[in-house]
């Protein structure tokens, strides 16, 4: 079975859609928890780990693009970064780093740094360096524009804070412990 077929079975496709919805829902939960995190790529990382790099990439990419339909095109330029996060999650899973909690956390930090490094020039080019003023500024201005307040509050794809990714990867590790083996086997295409 080609990788494509394997990573894009009906089951994986549904998982990807659910993962994107999870990105948003978990983001909402975190907001309510009032901790300085975004955790908006949990779904992307989960798919990367459970299914594979292509699926992880597509999940991250589409998760950012979808916001355009809701009037938040600001995340779209970072779709590529989100895709890379998905791919890297798959890579780290493949080399076994999701088996031990602290390795998963370290993987998260690494991915966070990579994402930040790639995001910076994109932000600089697209937004002329103003992103340095902090993502809160972006949030405030989209809110002020009357665009969907929900999306405005979640700087999805913009923050590549290594700490945020570290915690994301850790949470995914924790979830993996609780997932039934049957499900994991299904997702990876056995």
């Amino acid at each position: 079975m080609s990788i494509f077929k394997k990573e894009f079975s009906t089951f994986s496709i549904v998982l990807m859609a659910v993962a994107i919805a999870l990105n948003i829902a978990v983001g909402t939960l975190i907001l309510g928890l009032k901790v300085p995190l975004y955790l908006d790529s949990i779904g992307t990382v989960l798919v990367g780990v459970l299914v594979g790099p292509w699926a992880g990439a597509v999940t991250g990419f589409l998760a950012n693009i979808i916001w355009v339909f809701f009037g938040n095109p600001v995340y779209a330029p970072f779709a590529g970064v989100a895709a890379i996060i998905g791919v890297l999650a798959a890579v780290f899973a493949h080399i076994g780093w999701f088996k031990i909690w602290w390795r998963a956390a370290v993987a998260g930090i690494i991915v966070g740094f990579v994402a930040a490094i790639i995001s910076a020039p994109i932000a600089a080019y697209v937004f002329g360096g103003t992103l340095g003023a902090g993502t809160d500024a972006i949030v405030a201005l989209f809110r002020g524009a009357g665009l969907d307040a929900l999306g405005a509050n979640m700087a999805q794809g913009i923050t590549s804070d290594p700490i945020d990714k570290m915690i994301t990867f850790f949470v995914v590790w924790a979830v993996l412990q609780a997932l039934p083996q049957r499900f994991k086997a299904r997702a990876s295409g056995e």
Binding site: T10, V18, I24, I42, L150
Partner: protein, 259 residues
Amino acid sequence: MRGNLLYLDKESGLHKLHPLTKLAFTLFLLVCAAALADLIWLLAAFVFLLVPLAWWGRVISPVLRSGLAVITPFVISLSLIQGFFTGGETELFSVGSFVFTLEGWLAGLTVAARILVALSGALLLTLSTRPDALMHALTQRGLPNGLAYIVLSSIQIFPRFQDRAQLILQAQQARGLETQTHFVRRLGLLVPLTGPLILSSIVDVEERAMALEARAFSRAGRKTSLLVLRDSLGQRLVRLALLTVGLGLVAMRVWYLLQ
């Protein structure tokens, strides 16, 4: 909080166009945003391309409102940052040892204009095009069905997932989440709260996949469609023209940058 699709259903010429034509307009505007060199050209694109299209689509009000509202803070911060820190010759004023130059200011405004054109171009598309129509048009041109499905279904199911998240939050708030709990303890709640949310969604995956299979989703063979999109020779020509001019603009910009 719910995400609301930006799409506004209006009786307009723009709305009636084939989704790919509208996509072509947007992509062309994005190319303009990236490839046009001067502020004056960017403003011209906004005034002579975007505004008439938006007016035709009866969405001029949301586009202007959102577009200009978003751009104002950018204008301010970009003006300040680039005005002071991008070198230039013509000094306008100075603060201490920081010199605010005209060239710098114009550079800042140019970036703001790029954002304006790109942003409004995207808004134009989403205000006038239903996601399912757009996905259908793309599927006809070769986008895999699976990808279209992912886009459309995630758009529709995430509000329900958010409701679940809200319920979980409310239950936690009833236990004094905000008032009593210490920051570190809130962090500790992270896994116990997100865990169940994620795990319950996982069960959904299997059932949803079964439902899709029950609708012959994985059947090999040609699929037909209830939805019919109207296209025309005129629109095809317009798309071709936009593609050509767009490529031309990109070529010009690249050539200019290579100088």
